[in-house]
Subunit: 357 residues, 2 copies
Amino acid sequence: MSQSVLLLPGDGIGPEIVAEAERVLHRVNEKFDLDLHFDSADVGGAAIDATGVPLPDSTLEKAQKSDAILLGAVGGPKWEGLEIAIRPEKGLLGLRSNLELFANLRPAILYPQLASASSLKPEVVSGLDILIVRELTGGIYFGQPRGVRELENGERQGYNTYVYSESEIRRIGRVAFEAAQQRGGKLCSVDKCNVLEVTELWREIMTDLARDYPDVELSHMYVDNAAMQLVRAPKQFDVIVTGNMFGDILSDEAAMLTGSIGMLPSASLNAEKQGMYEPCHGSAPDIAGQGIANPLATILSAAMMLRYSLGAEQAAQAIEAAVSAVLDKGLRTADIMSEDASRVSTREMGDAVLEAL
Amino acid sequence: MSQSVLLLPGDGIGPEIVAEAERVLHRVNEKFDLDLHFDSADVGGAAIDATGVPLPDSTLEKAQKSDAILLGAVGGPKWEGLEIAIRPEKGLLGLRSNLELFANLRPAILYPQLASASSLKPEVVSGLDILIVRELTGGIYFGQPRGVRELENGERQGYNTYVYSESEIRRIGRVAFEAAQQRGGKLCSVDKCNVLEVTELWREIMTDLARDYPDVELSHMYVDNAAMQLVRAPKQFDVIVTGNMFGDILSDEAAMLTGSIGMLPSASLNAEKQGMYEPCHGSAPDIAGQGIANPLATILSAAMMLRYSLGAEQAAQAIEAAVSAVLDKGLRTADIMSEDASRVSTREMGDAVLEAL
Ligand SMILES: CC(C)[C@H](C(=O)O)[C@@H](O)C(=O)O
Ligand SMILES: CC(C)[C@H](C(=O)O)[C@@H](O)C(=O)O
């Protein structure tokens, strides 16, 4: 069965890292006879430069027709002066909402080979393996009404709306409970239900769902406390589920606990398991074009894509094993460099993964 | 000139820790001839139990008439079933808004004597000294409309409103710029202006204000990145200014970097420098009543109160020196206990501070 993959390199280091992941995908495509077909398109700042908008219709159409999408990253100082409505980020947000990619899975895993990269003490993070399930198409990042209005006294007021319906909470809740079932059986739902009504509903629905998953141990935590507990004792967590904004903040915090965010992939799935896959890190404009970015998070995102959207578990495992082998060999890009390792470029890292395959 | 201090012990460990701070305040009152007068009242869960509401009128009146307020903490599992409108937290929020305590100052300081308590590597946190300036009476914690409504399809939807006006942003901005002037001259404003319109206005006003403070170096950071940078390299920050919700999350994260949140005080000030002072930690219901809580954050909050609201800098410094002396002696409550230290109770810690005074 032929399947199609859309590549969206995007901005900054995006093109460099997606190029390496593409080579890896071509290799497993042959090796495992996957019959994958590839196309590519512009999104974000690259699309603004080419067409004036961050998500051209042609890109959206290709995305809708594809079985899976691999994205590099979007955004950069070049487009920071633009209004929110036409910024690079809107391209990403537009893909998420148009494809209804409501379930964002962000693993925070510490690779034993990279343990020393963490700013935390080894005993606090060694063996860290958390999955953050972030709701991705609702909440305040999409809520209406929003904007800036003039008040009666003549001054301006900015406003956004944080909103969730029962069904939105329920569907992300199910994804999280199922993920917990397949992992350590523990789910922590993060909210601020002592202050925000929308998260009171969140907690109620999560509590209600728990009855369908008697094998999962559900707990609740306020977001401020979660931000603390991630620093204090991150290994207490198995799966965390939370809304779009809290998930944005906590998943980045959790990723950084590993000290090697250049290693962390992510998946954004819809109800049909169509998905968009991207590294957790951003477009890193400061090092773009230098050939020194770490392509491994994108390569591992390609592995997640093979697993979740393309039904190619074997190929996914092969990539993950190759990445691990490359780390064992001591190869490191600048961001994860340590004393006794060998520093390699983006391309050399890609070469090494291909070789290990 | 006689001044009045209102003590609000609140819930959980609140009464135990406020009792020690009260003893310390009485001592400096005599020693420095401050002519302070004390009163106390119920707030939070304690007030709910006594009167049915978290902020009785009598408490609010006393608060309004006082020159400064020292609060323990509010909340606990006993009141978690209640609706947001009548929860203990509403007592705290009601005090903040009624007294217009819009400027929340939360230092995250690593005491050299307690460096090993941090979960971060010593080189990452040694000498840490950040001040987080959190807007405290606006943003989504107070925004209207809010609640839970029924949608046309019969399901419920929760909603809250994230809102800031120019003048609200400007006044907290000024507090932060002035604090930066008195410290390291660096201010980082945290927003999510690539997605949220309300924070676009935030960034615009901060940028505008910067012209009045040419001696302060202003930078901007997205909140997700700030959550990461605090873990990766917290010493890059001097003063951070942000809105109510982001400030809630980031100040707790920053506090936990020190590993000794039981040491961290906070101040919430209004335009007249009337203020409410409280420890950064919460009501810790799990250890309430055992006499083992750490009273130092509350004692240091009393020192902040003397400094910012009561014009008694000398007394503030005396308390801070006493706390430092007690740490030097190796006295530790359970939360900051380390191998070669002497464990003391809440009361014994209070005794030691009194003695050092
Ligand atoms: C680029 C931005 C819109 C995006 C978000 O906030 O969702 C990013 O930070 C992420 O976490 O994927
Ligand atoms: C108790 C709660 C309402 C409060 C807040 O969120 O503001 C607390 O977390 C704080 O940070 O002071």
